[in-house]
Amino acid sequence: MREISFAQAIKEAISEEMRRDPRVFILGEDVAEAGTAFKVLTGLVDEFGTDRVLDTPISEPGFTGIAVGAAMTGLRPIVDLMFGDFLTLVMDQMVNQAAKIHYMSGGKLNVPLVLRTNMGATRRSGAQHSQSLHAWMCHIPGLKVAMPSSAYEAKGLLKTAIRDNNPVVIFEDKLMYQEKAPVPEEEYLIPFGVANIVRTGRDITFVATSSMVQVAKQAAQSLMADGIEAEIIDPRTLVPLDEDTIVNSVKRTGHAIVIDEGHQNFGITAEIAARISQMAFYKLKSPVLRLGAMDVPVPYSPVLEDLTVPTAKDVVNAARAALKGA
């Protein structure tokens, strides 16, 4: 199968959906001629023009609010939020408006909106350009949250998000944009709420999101030396969450580690670990372990920044601890 980059996959998803549905358009800072700051959409404006690939001023609350209104009245906007750290600026539009309008209107109004943004540290971008804030969005009823872990997921999940009639937030790991993966030529969609069993194994379950799926894979690889077979599950969407697939795996393996790049405290590893601990209680042979980003603002200095994100080594050590505990 052909291989394309995560960035290309995103551009393909958007191009295909924009061809399919004239109501779909994208707006944000430097999305048109510049093709976004990460050059993800280079050339998109040439096909669709500046009416549908709309450069905005540096006004995140404003253009997100405009997108909400456009979504309520017949368009299907994709909001491009350059850095996930800027979610701080659009929370009112996403949380008090977009997430609640369908419910508050008793089902009369819809907000078919996709917010594309990113996450991920170790890019030496400092504390305000390195956060992974998906836990916030997961906490809000009315928002769906997708976390693609490769070019394949990125394309399939984004296409599904664009066709969804609800507000969806999709987090792209900015360090994966150039990573290539096999992506079929033929059209496909990835349904929300269906986890992907990345790797099967009998001994321990790794639940990993986004770039942490790669980390989990490396860990599983090295654990084979100890004869440990890890099962890796990528939830792909956190809202809705495929609890059954996760819990059933842990019921088989009896051990679980949850790995995510958001801060560990009060982050999404807590929710997943709590659900596993409750639903697989009588099958668990060791405590569910959590590996999130260190609970510090992301430091600039490379030697410090690299310490803040879970590594394959951390996962291996956690797995050994869990299995020794058994």
Partner: protein, 327 residues
Amino acid sequence: MNTKRTSNREAYLQIYRQMSRIRTFEDNANKLYLSAKMQGLSHLYSGQEAVAVGICEALEKTDFITSTHRGHGHCVAKGARAQTMFCELLGKVEGYCRGKGGSMHIADQENGNLGANAIVGGSLGIATGAALSAKRLGSKAVTVCFFGDGALGQGLLYEVMNMAALWKLPVIYACENNLYGEYTKLSEMAAGDLCGRAKAFGIETYEVDGQDVLAVNELAQKLVERARRGEGPFFVVLNTYRFHGHHVGDINRTYYRSKEEERDWRENRDPIKNFGHWLIQEQVADENELKAINGEVLAEAEAAVEYALLASYPNENEVNQHVFVAN
């Protein structure tokens, strides 16, 4: 002159009736609150009727408005039914939002009301986005964004006005200046010049007496028509006054505004009373016709309240419906 009056007779009486509807709706909402039949927060529109009616009578059903926490007047003016509104205020399933929205979130999509909003300035983006849709879809719909003077404090306003101006969107920003935000005078909340805040973005701005329904309507007709032609956006300051407290529970107000000030506005600047006098003086209608209209409106409102009080609440299983729409 007089010919125009008579030719417009229907329109004038409709304007009068709509203002009367709002006043009567609010009087009944207030009664419901004071008699503990209605819970929560209600922000009454009484006193500002000429703004909502003067503007909405210049709009088509297919035009959009966005509203505020003080939204009953906008909702009535855009064509909503009192009965369905009272059902919403009482949390009944027959309300515009099945009782799930309440006073601060009434939306009436059929009539183009995209909803009240409990976030000050919360609908500024929505209104501007609706205007973007109209332009992109070529629907010719115009959107009016109602907001209070207090919303001038929200940075969002300046972000969306800038984009509306850059993109020439068919939106009219209608700032209802009733002199107060909650319990604080506008002068303590806003430096400089209100219209200047829109002029800076190259937006054409107007200021009008929000108690003079004909002046408001005349301006609205002109601007709506121009916005439809793609000459928008526009910004209008409408000077008005709320007769009641900030919300139904705001009874003792003398620490932030004087009884004299309130009396002056109620006695000399009541938009309904004054328009009534004008109708009679211009011989568009006589005392009895107006009395009749008010009577009809009152009967309609009381029937609506009665119906709403007896109407049923949503089923418990609705509590987790409408979180997401099915695809």
